[in-house]
Symmetry: C2
Subunit: 346 residues, 2 copies
DNA sequence: TTGAAAGCGCTAACAG
DNA sequence: CTGTTAGCGCTTTCAA
């Protein structure tokens, strides 16, 4: 800046004004122009550090994620956040928080760098305990629910996922629709099962507890699903996630049943391996990880900068689900919901 | 710091010295102690920004990754880098670079924040073109190869992966060992196939081109693998990655063949879905993503700080591979190799 | 419409 | 052994 000032023959303050777009009737347009040209020519890059030191705003956002290392979806969410932030002139500092201690340590580090706010994500919608060290910052939860509702969050509409998936199976002519879920309690699980149940009820169908299996993994899970096949002979399956869907695929394969022919399956988030291998048989409800990251980041920055967000840009649409029984791949983006904290909605 | 100085009755410089551990025979131990106590009491957190502004060292490292969003392994690598850096007092700024333009934009952002160096990764060992904007920084490649060998890199020993996997299949009694690879050219692919070939030669077995199938994905890939089964009747398979392994599993299932019984399979990086479902049948060579991130980060910091790295801590061991035909899960960490740039090795 | 000057929180050379 | 002083590069009153 000093160089530019010297070169153009003005003072540093003038340069600062111009380069920050704060020259509105304050600097002669001619001079402003010359400043801009000089800056360009000299390849001026502002020093973000110095600026932050002065303004005490870093334009850095921290992303705290439990299980980054173990889930394949973290990437999409992070990418979404990054794209949104990048457009807003922010950058993302990602940090893993597999144990509480690590989180505190990392949060400490980020605080030292003066991050402006945090995104906190659990990678599978569940009730989380937000670390106390975070509560003093602007904070938005992604794919996670705050027990006390103190923080705004971006979550998939779990109920609707279950409802839509089940409705689709009913429309495809399924009459005995099984629910293959997860044995761990989660918001996602509760919501999706409720949606499943409600869809059955709304279509005048029985909710039969025997058609529900909550399984963990590996052999026992596979055997449970095989038991479900043999005992109940379902003609449709709603699977909580990719791993659960796999047990259904495997059990069906072992029985010579084809997906999309003998039985119908809707799964949530069947990921890369499935996409590369089973695509033609797949009907997937795809969790909008990218979008969650994107909108959470937008929301956070709005909060940091104390301005409102453009609600009309909010993605609420659900794509039409193609027929299960046709061999066309089907990806359905699910709806997002936003929970604002009390403070936010005031 | 001012407050601490005031409170203890010394000057800010003294506080600075003490808090940076630079008080060796320069500050009276008594005073140093009092300073530390005061700092603790007041919950002093150094302002990293101010420090960086002064020292022009930020202790921030940028991680540029192609395909973060689409690969499930990014997490492990990032986690490894983060853990290593965290221990060294650094933090990681992750940035995605799916297209070159995006990379340049993000690199620009990181430069403005004054990052000290970069990690650059491709997520599947291949020759990469390092963006010019990066070449002026300390830089280490992870799971990627530099065409011109100008930069140090951390890569899996691809040849050895292929060699070990194939040897294991031979030891298990396989006589017709197929290679199921990827139709895109990659360092990983070349190296692993060479290892496969060499292992066969070293054991006096024929290398039969008909036993090799390079496939892409989805239906055509599955059909190619089914063709391989039917035409060649292999009794062992070395699979380039998880997706390829899946075609083998599926084709075997359709023929009523069991893995570990009728045929043997060694795959690379069979990930979460497999681990949760097929575990008992799996023999996996697990790419050490975490370790790659970890050691690349260490290497980078050594370079940034101009010091040597402790080579003895370098992970070079390969675990013993359990028998294929026993139904015990097997994960084998592969060896890493490091390629130092000319400059580094000088 | 512009410039001078102060200061964000810290480090480091130098003087005492 | 400790304090004084001068900035790092930028923003922002305030005065001209």
């Amino acid at each position: 800046m000093k160089q530019i000032a010297q070169c153009v023959g003005v003072s540093v303050s003038t340069v600062s004004l111009v380069l920050n777009g704060r020259d509105g009737g304050r600097v002669k347009p001619q001079i402003a122009q010359r400043v801009r040209e000089a800056a360009d020519e000299m390849g001026y890059q502002p020093n973000a550090l110095a600026r932050s030191l002065r303004t005490s705003r870093t334009h850095i956002v921290g992303f705290i994620s439990v299980e980054v290392a173990t889930t394949p979806y973290a990437g999409g969410m992070i990418q979404g956040a990054q794209d949104a932030l990048s457009a807003l002139g922010y950058v993302l500092l990602t940090v893993n928080g597999d144990d509480a201690q690590a989180v505190d340590a990392e949060v400490g580090a980020l605080r030292r760098y003066g991050v402006d706010g945090f995104l906190y994500s659990a990678m599978s919608n569940r009730v989380v305990d937000v670390p106390k060290s975070l509560t003093r910052f602007p904070l938005v939860l992604v794919d996670a629910t705050d027990a006390d509702g103190r923080f705004p969050s971006i979550e998939p509409d779990e109920f609707r996922i279950g409802y839509d998936a089940t409705t689709r199976l009913i429309d495809a002519g399924c009459r005995r629709i099984a629910y293959v879920g997860c044995a761990e309690p989660m918001v996602a699980q509760t919501g999706r099962f409720e949606g499943y149940r409600q869809a059955l009820v709304d279509h005048g169908m029985d909710v039969d507890e025997r058609l529900r299996r909550d399984v963990l993994n590996n052999g026992p899970a596979l055997r449970a699903v095989e038991g479900l096949f043999d005992a109940e002979r379902p003609d449709g399956f709603f699977c909580f996630n990719d791993a659960r869907a796999w047990y259904v695929y495997e059990a069906a394969a072992r029985r010579g049943l084809t997906i999309g022919g003998d039985v119908s399956v809707v799964g949530v988030d069947n990921h890369r391996v499935f996409a590369e291998t089973l695509e033609p048989q797949l009907t997937t409800i795809e969790l909008p990880h990218y979008e969650m990251g994107y909108w959470a980041a937008n929301r956070l920055v709005a909060r940091i900068e104390g301005r409102a967000i453009n609600e009309s840009a909010w993605p609420r649409t659900t794509a039409v689900m193609p027929l299960l029984d046709t061999p066309s791949p089907a990806k359905v983006h699910c709806t997002l919901i936003e929970k604002s904290s009390v403070r936010a909605s005031r």
